[in-house]
Every structure is written in C-alpha cells, then in structure tokens.
Assembly symmetry: C2
Homo-oligomer: 225 residues x 2
DNA sequence: TGCTTAAACCTGTTAGACAGGTCATAGCCA
DNA sequence: TGGCTATGACCTGTCTAACAGGTTTAAGCA
C-alpha cells in the first residue's frame, strides 16, 4: 500500500469545500493560491489535486478565470457520497448484475485457452486468500476482472474498472466491508465462484450467466441482509 | 473546447513510449527529468501528465524508485488502441446493450416528474440538433445520460461516463463518425429516441428496455453496416 | 449613463532546490 | 573467492519564486 501523499489530502479537502459550501455546477472554486494557503501546502500540490479532480470529471480549469465545478455531487459516487449513505453503494450491484452476467456469458463462448488458464489462476489465488482469512477483496475483484477480460471486449473491462475502482476508493476511505466471516460463508463464497468458473470452462453461456447472477445476488445479501 | 495544454502532449508522448518500447506491466518508465528533457518541457508538466496517467490507472509512481506501468495496453481502450482498430470500439455497443437497456427499464419504474422533464428536454435538444444537421453527438449522449440518471442509481451514470468518455476521446482524436446522414436516417434516429422516451413516460419498463435495445441495435448497424 | 481601458487576479509553465526513499555496486571482511 | 555492508547515485515528493498570457472587474473618461 503506497503512502498517502499530500495531494490526497488536498483532493479530499477540495471535495469537502464543494460539499460544505454547497457549490453548484458552474460555480468557481477558490483560487489555487488560496487553496494552498488554506491547506498549508504549496501551490504545486493543489495543482496536482486539481488535475486529478479534473481527470475525474469533477472540476474544470479555465485559464485566467479559475477552476469550476463540472459535475454535480450527486453524479459522483466516490468523492461526494457521505459514508452514511453507504447502502447507496450497493446500487453498484444493480449494474454488476447485468454487466457481469453478460460478461460471463460471453466469456463462456469466446474464451481462449490462455484466458481460461488466467481465470483458473485467479480462482486459485482467491481460494488461497479466503482460506487464510485475509481480506481477499483484491483477489475477488481480480477474478471478476479476468472473466471480463475473457470476453475479448475491452469495453467490459473499462466499465468494470470504473465501477469497481469507485467501490475500492470507498473501502479505502475507512469503511471496512471485510468484517470477519464465519467459515461456512467462506466456503459458500468459494463455491459460488467455482460454479462460475466451471460454466466458463464448460463453455456453457447460460450456465455462466446464471451462476454469476446467483453469486452477485448472494453477495449483495451478504452485504445488506 | 478548451485549448490543448502541454501536459496533453506529454500524456500522449508517454503513452507512445509505452507502446513503442513495448513496456510490459511492472516495467519502469524513464525518469521525470528524462521525460521532461525528451519532450522539451519542464518537470512539472511531466509530473502533471504522470498524475493523470496514474489517475487513469495506467502508471504507478513509487517514491525513490520511479514510475511503473500498471495496466497492460490491451486493457485500455482509449489511450492505446490504434485508430485502425476502431471497429473494436463498436464493442462498446455490446456493453451498452445490456447496461442501457437495464437503465431504461429502471428509469421507467423509478423516474420522478423532474427527471422526466429533464429527459424530455434532452430529447428536444437532440431533435433540434439533428434537424439542423449538426453533429449532435453531444446531445445524443446527454439524452442517454439523463436516462441513466433517472434510475436514481449513480452507478449507472458512472459506468456510462466511463464508456462514453472513451468513445468521445476517440472521436476527438480525429475519427469523424459524424459523416453526413440522409434525412430519412435522421428521422429514424429521432423516432427511435422518441420511442424510448415514450415508454419511460408511460412507465412501461419492458417497453423502455426493448426500445433501447432496438435503438442500440440499429445504431450499431448504422456505424458498421 | 455608457463605453473604454487599465489594474488586479488567475491559471499555465518554468527553473532550481532540498528532503527522503530506493537500488546497485564498490569495497571490506571472513 | 564469496557474502555482506555501506556508500553514493538516482528518483519521486514537495517547496519557493517568478513570468507569460488570459479573464474579470472596476475606475475613469466621454
């Protein structure tokens, strides 16, 4: 895990300003110099944070004029959602339900031998992590990602990254979803993943889609009983 | 349209280096100073480009060690895909087919009155742009985006942005998808959108999903007959 | 009052410097 | 000679100071 950089704090601070001041789309942020002064860092750090905010589509800089809010807070899951609204995060399951089911279906029809081996390896890594009682979120995501890759369509990977990247940010923000799981839950989670991989190996599109839907359905239930 | 900044060129230059040198995941990029020297810009500009690349998940910086490639070129649609492989872009339709159909279905059931008005306005803007023979891609995207918003689930908007953002970048990169369309095609495109909006207005989930699927199917055919 | 213009302010960019982390290798010890 | 250590070169993270060029605001003139 890389050390937190100053620009991370500046990023969060600017987001906080947008929220606290209730800045609407099109409104201007404080100038870079002022933000630097407020956070007690150099202007370079503020610029770095602003570049990332702009890259995330949250702000927009206009030369000579200032930086402006580009997208409304409600349009962004990551940065703006108060942690108290975590259940909203579960909305991502609604997307994954259709997105990943389709990915599993296509993976079952299109996967190459190499991609299948990649998926098997991902399952092994997840299994290992789960059985050693580690958080295993990275391994979980990696397996799902490899299935998305096996569609041969990069668009699936892109959307997957966008969705999961945000979820990951939220977890890093201090919410620990990796609460301890009893052994029987671990076994169930593992079995669900195995069913998906089995169907993809057997080149059974409908089976793969169904197994994925079932897994996500159960996963959501585990998060929000 | 904002003026191109130097860091845009640095960003593209670094991507070009990764491609040309065939750098694999985990390999090290030239140092910031060296890159600055290569591009004839200051180190600050290179840093800005690297921050954006890191934000896009392409590179990763390790203090004292250097910047490293984080994701393989094939995993990224935008930056790495040669324009000659544009047809691959059409793979995004495969995702939109399931993603936006579900969004239309949910929008039909959950939309508020305000969201409906927002969608109607989007349709009017698209209609106006299409009838005046403008490119209308921005308006098209905006309407689809408003439908995604009407699901009440930000996860749909996030994935939509990720997908459409990349398509937009490619178009800006010089590919003109907005070839001239004969009047009958314009009328058809408009009618397709109207059908979607009608179904959402009538709170008909299945009708909305079907209309969206039909529209995307036809849209894909229009791009790649 | 209405227009012009200049000053104040802002982002974009550059240069140089230092702190602190990483890595390879030269050199020492056994 | 082989292995370990410690030094030094190199790299990113951060800061300061400055200037260029664009935008906004308001003063001042007609």
């Amino acid at each position: 895990m890389t050390q937190a950089r100053l620009s991370d704090h500046a990023y969060a601070g600017i987001v906080e300003i947008i929220k606290a001041e209730g800045l609407e789309v099109g409104e201007r942020l404080p100038s870079e110099s002022r933000l630097a002064e407020m956070f007690g860092v150099s202007r370079a750090i503020v610029r770095e944070a602003l570049v990332r905010l702009a890259s995330d589509g949250i702000t927009e800089a206009r030369r000579g004029a200032g930086s402006f809010v580009k997208s409304r807070p409600s349009e962004r899951l990551t940065a703006f959602m108060p942690l108290s609204e975590l259940p909203t995060t579960l909305g991502s399951y609604e997307v994954r339900f259709v997105l990943e089911a389709e990915a599993a279906r296509l993976a079952a029809t299109r996967r190459t031998g190499h991609e299948m081996a990649h998926i098997e390896e991902g399952l092994a890594l997840l299994s290992q992590a789960l059985l050693s009682s580690e958080p295993a979120h990275a391994e979980d995501m990696e397996l799902h990602r490899r299935i998305a890759e096996a569609t041969g369509n990069p668009a699936f990977v892109i959307t997957f990254d966008a969705l999961y990247g945000d979820v990951e940010k939220i977890m890093r923000a201090g919410v620990d979803i990796s609460r301890s799981r009893p052994p029987e839950v671990i076994a169930t989670m593992l079995r669900e993943h195995e069913l998906i991989v089995d169907a993809i190996r057997a080149q059974d599109p409908e089976g793969a889609a169904l197994a994925m839907r079932w897994h996500l359905w159960e996963g959501r239930r585990r998060l929000m009983p």
